[in-house]
Symmetry: C2
Subunit: 284 residues, 2 copies
């Protein structure tokens, strides 16, 4: 599989790693990078995974066979609207966003009459690091990836995107945008909010000299709270419909735990901890 011209819009960790992986595997002739900031364009130009940089979004997609929108989820739809009139017929557009319902709806609407094909993707790769400077061609290897077609998705484009992620070593799951969003609300977005809420609580109450007494438990439990704030703020807003009931149920469970501790009901507290442990033990 080789695309003549690939445009990557917004080279953060994922976009830049995509470029690096395509270059390494010879999957792209020309790799174009669009970045908003001049210093990012300058830095990308020095990388072997970037053939040319653009500051003009519309220009960057002209003649491209494949366009990756790797921006924060909150602006993917807007970018699709801007590039739509400038895409060549038959071009494939995909994204790497952590939410899917809103993005897929917005992109399908934006590209509806352009003769191009949108396919939603969500590669679950990355780390608490962010930015093109951490680009890693092996970032995707062995990690899970969602592809979320709808009844509007063109089959040929879908198959190309599936093949694309397979070549990068990802474990594919094809599902609807809605099911995707329910799953990630549980296994990703709720854990993120929990880590952030714990860190926020401790930020307000803990003397910083206490931190040297923290074992690995605190570091592990809060690790993802280090993630990029603009990225996560967007994700949470975009997937709030699925996140809200999970968050409510977490709060209720914490209230129950609090009540059991107050009441000295060690048996019920033990049952709660036991069910939590059984769930966690499945992950190893």
């Amino acid at each position: 599989m080789k695309f003549d011209i690939v445009t990557i819009i917004a080279p953060g960790l994922l976009g830049a790693s995509l470029a690096a992986a395509m270059r390494e595997k010879g999957m792209a002739g020309e790799i174009r990078i669009w970045a908003r900031r001049a210093e990012v364009r300058k830095a990308c130009q020095r990388e072997d995974w970037c053939d040319c940089v653009f500051d003009d979004l519309e220009q960057s997609v002209v003649d491209a066979d494949l366009v990756w929108i790797a921006s924060p989820v909150g602006v993917v739809g807007r970018i699709a609207r801007v590039i739509a009139p400038h895409l060549r017929k038959g071009a494939i557009v995909s994204d790497v966003g952590s939410t899917k319902s809103m993005i897929v709806e917005q992109c399908e609407a934006a590209l509806a009459d352009s003769g191009t094909h949108f396919v939603g993707s969500h590669p679950m790769a990355g780390s608490e690091k962010s930015g093109h400077e951490y680009a890693d061609a092996s970032l995707f290897e062995g990690m899970p990836c969602f592809v979320t077609p709808t009844d509007q998705t063109e089959n040929g484009a879908l198959n190309q995107i599936l093949e694309f992620w397979s070549l990068l070593g990802m474990e594919l799951t094809e599902t609807t945008p809605e099911v995707h969003d329910r799953i990630v609300a549980s296994v990703s977005h709720l854990p993120h909010l929990v880590a952030s809420a714990l860190s926020y609580t401790l930020a307000k109450s803990v003397d910083s000299t206490w931190l040297k007494h923290a074992g690995n438990g605190l570091a592990d439990t809060t690790r993802i709270a280090s993630g990029s704030v603009p990225v996560w703020k967007d994700i949470i807003q975009q997937n709030r419909e699925q996140i809200m009931p999970m968050l409510s149920s977490l709060i209720l469970n914490l209230e129950e735990i609090k009540y059991r501790i107050e009441a000295g009901d060690a048996d019920t507290l033990g049952e709660i901890l036991e069910q939590g442990k059984s769930f966690r033990d499945q992950l190893n």
Copy 2:
């Protein structure tokens, strides 16, 4: 530093690792192990860090110079009461419990007129593994350790316990039982409850086929929920006075996050995430 006879009461991960470390460093002549269960006694007998096993708690401490109570925190006080009349004059008794106020109070009362010396310890070593089979002589190396004297603590005994942990490579902090309990409520017990509550919430709502879509974030955030339930049930009950206000404040913060998401107040949500991130970034 070498003790002629050391008794370790209840060889879980910490007790067994203590025995292994003392043997490796030549810090003990005879190492005695008391265990409640016959199969544990049998298993310990095969280890080079165990010279003899006891099923009689009272007998196990006779003539011992140093006694480690390494049981779950809920029974440390009771064990101290049982062994008190059988200890030789001048013996030092310490523990490895994750809570201190209640334990120190109970042990000081139990040993008050016995001519022996109690010093509370809390080595913050361990993992989500539990049991003597994971004994590890290097478990303590470089990890934090509290020693919690009171105005009743004898100075010679305190210095010996401080030296003991130093020889095992631990980073020592001397503080009161109360300050210790406040610190661990924040950096250890609250994170544990959070990890358990998240796991418990997901246990009740997540289809287990979804777990293959989980990245490292979920695994990290819930890791400590795998800890021993009886151990943690005890810890939480023993330190509930310090834990309750932290738990209440966490719940309030989650309510605020929920409200900000519902209201679409991305700016305030972003500030909360930012403060959480700043706190977390200090830990690296």
